[in-house]
């Protein structure tokens, strides 16, 4: 292991390291901790110009309560879920199929199709912006959740295909060969043999896509406006306009908006990191 494991270092460095860890993590998360503290301060603390003292009393419940009762925030959060979940299902479903096709079969253009998916996944959003916006308007889907979902599914298919194809490539190919000898149809191979083996990849990809889509801002601004369809990333700007300089509310709102992917990460950490670091080792 590198660096030298702590057990094998001097006693003083061991103590130093152990006490450095919490200090480092606090310094790293300092901007966020400040916002967390703001969000539980009562408004009177701010009107007095007293930003940085300890909260005079804990006002977390009323601040967070107001985020849900006095603003369209619940609507935005709901929209985010209604955009994110169908996208995850759609993109994972499509890429299970494309990944299977590119990972299992050898045919002309295999690598070309694969590289097209990867390249498409890397292009700047702006080169797609005008045509995708026009397409969405023409289809009558501007300012609808469906319009966003369809685009997200399509775009995420690029990344998901890369992921799934590489995962399937690492599966034991003999299994599929054996099934073919048995006379099983290609579709049954996909459904009964490959798909069950893909469960870990599906889990990893789902959490990853959930986070990506939840956090999307650009497409939300381009394809939607107003609380009817906008997800929380775009909604937070109107939320901020509503509350102006009420920093306790702005902070509470930001934390609410950031929370779902954070919970997802802490609950599904293993899958999340497995997904993110695919390919980081050989």
């Amino acid at each position: 292991m590198f660096p030298t494991p702590l057990e094998r270092t001097s006693r003083s460095w061991q103590i130093g390291y152990q006490s450095l860890l919490p200090v480092a993590v606090i310094a790293w998360l300092l901007p966020l901790l400040a916002v967390a503290m703001f969000s539980v301060k009562p408004s009177s603390d701010f009107t007095g110009g007293d930003y940085w003292s300890w909260p005079s009393r804990f006002a977390g419940f009323e601040n967070y309560g107001r985020v849900f009762t006095d603003s369209p925030m619940p609507r935005y959060i709901l929209n985010s879920f209604m955009i994110t979940i169908p996208t995850v299902i759609g993109a994972v479903a499509l890429s299970c199929m494309t990944g299977f096709a590119l990972g299992v079969y050898r045919f002309r253009f295999n690598l070309l199709v694969f590289f097209l998916f990867i390249a498409g996944n890397f292009v700047p959003f702006q080169i797609l912006m005008i045509p995708v916006r026009d397409l969405t308007i023409d289809a009558g889907l501007y300012n609808t959740k469906l319009g966003l979902v369809l685009f997200h599914i399509a775009f995420q298919t690029g990344f998901c295909t890369l992921f799934m194809r590489n995962f399937i490539r690492a599966l034991p190919f003999e299994l599929i060969e054996a099934a073919r000898v048995e006379g099983i149809t290609e579709f049954q191979i996909f459904w009964h043999i490959v798909l069950p083996l893909m469960k870990p990849a599906i889990a990893a990809l789902s959490v990853l896509i959930f986070t990506f889509i939840w956090n999307d801002y650009f497409w939300a601004v381009v394809l939607t406006q107003g609380p009817q369809a906008q997800p929380v990333t775009a909604g937070i700007t109107s939320f901020n306009a509503q509350f102006g300089v009420a920093y306790h509310m702005l902070s509470a709102g930001s934390i609410v908006a950031a929370l779902p992917p954070v919970l997802m990460f802490f609950l599904m950490q293993r899958h999340f990191i497995a997904g993110l670091t695919l390919g980081a080792v050989k």
Binding site: F2, P5, L6, Q18, L21, V25, W28, P31, L32, A34, F38, W52, L94, S95, M97, T98, L102, Y105, L111, F115, I118, F122, P124, F125, Q126, I127, M129, I130, P131, L135, L150, F151, A154, F155, T157, T161, G183, T185, F187, Q188, T211, N215, Y217, F218, V221, V222, T233, Y247, S251, A257, P261, M264, F265, Q269, I273, L276, T277, A280, V281, K282
Partner: protein, 304 residues
Amino acid sequence: MTDTTAAAPHHSWFHRNRKTITPWLFLLPGILFFSVYVIYPIIQSINLSFYKWDGLGEAEYVGTANYERLASDRAFTVSLFNNMKWLLLYLLAIPAGLFIALFLNQTVRGIRIYKSLFFFPFVISQVVVGLVFTWFYDPNFGLLNGILGAVGLGPINVLGDPALATYGIIAAGLWPQTAYCMILYLTGLNAVDPEQIEAARLDGAKGWRMLWHIIIPQLKPATFIAFVVTIIGALRSFDLISIMTNGGPFGSTRVLSFYMFEKALSEYGFRMGYGAAIAVVLFFIMLFFIAYFLWSMYQDEKGR
């Protein structure tokens, strides 16, 4: 399981060609979606960049006029220059991520929680990161000026100063990006061959020499991915700029992605053709890197 052979005793055309047809059937929905929403729009955008169009009326063909105008557009030059700053400075996330990964690569009690907490900024949306850092930099009550004040410096208005604003936004972006690189390296460090390390230790290698000659070469796959995601992240920067400065002060924090959006969908009328031309420039910058990534991956595929 024998129903296919029973149903097609004469080996139908489909059955004979199933290994050729099946992959395309499976690819069809994915390719369809991807072509409609990604491939074709790229072609449309390139085409549109030769037109003048307000998004409503008839588009008028203007040849390369949009591109010629770009050359003398100061806002475009500023954006392009800022993109270069983003690209270069964003790469700092890679050594910074490696540094933190090395710091955290121990097996003490609770280290998993520390690793998660360090990774935490990556999970938060850039919109919230942008807000958090806007308040962090705030000249009146921001934590940064609180800290600077405590050591007798400041106050500085990072986002209000055209000379500093872009660097302030990049610093905000480096926060989640470093976390991302860190997690890549933590995974990479896990897979480093312990025998090689022990062998090198016996040969007297340690510290920097060990890191440089033994560890970093083995981290190459992690470095490659860190490089890819950092370059893409730098060129995609939009959310932070939009939230933190909205391109200001005096347009000093614009980058191509932001400037394009501004031109194409501004409040003062849509200039789609001109916006498309900016997008095409950004696309070709990106294409340069995409070609390199694909080339590396192709070398890898051949090697298998």
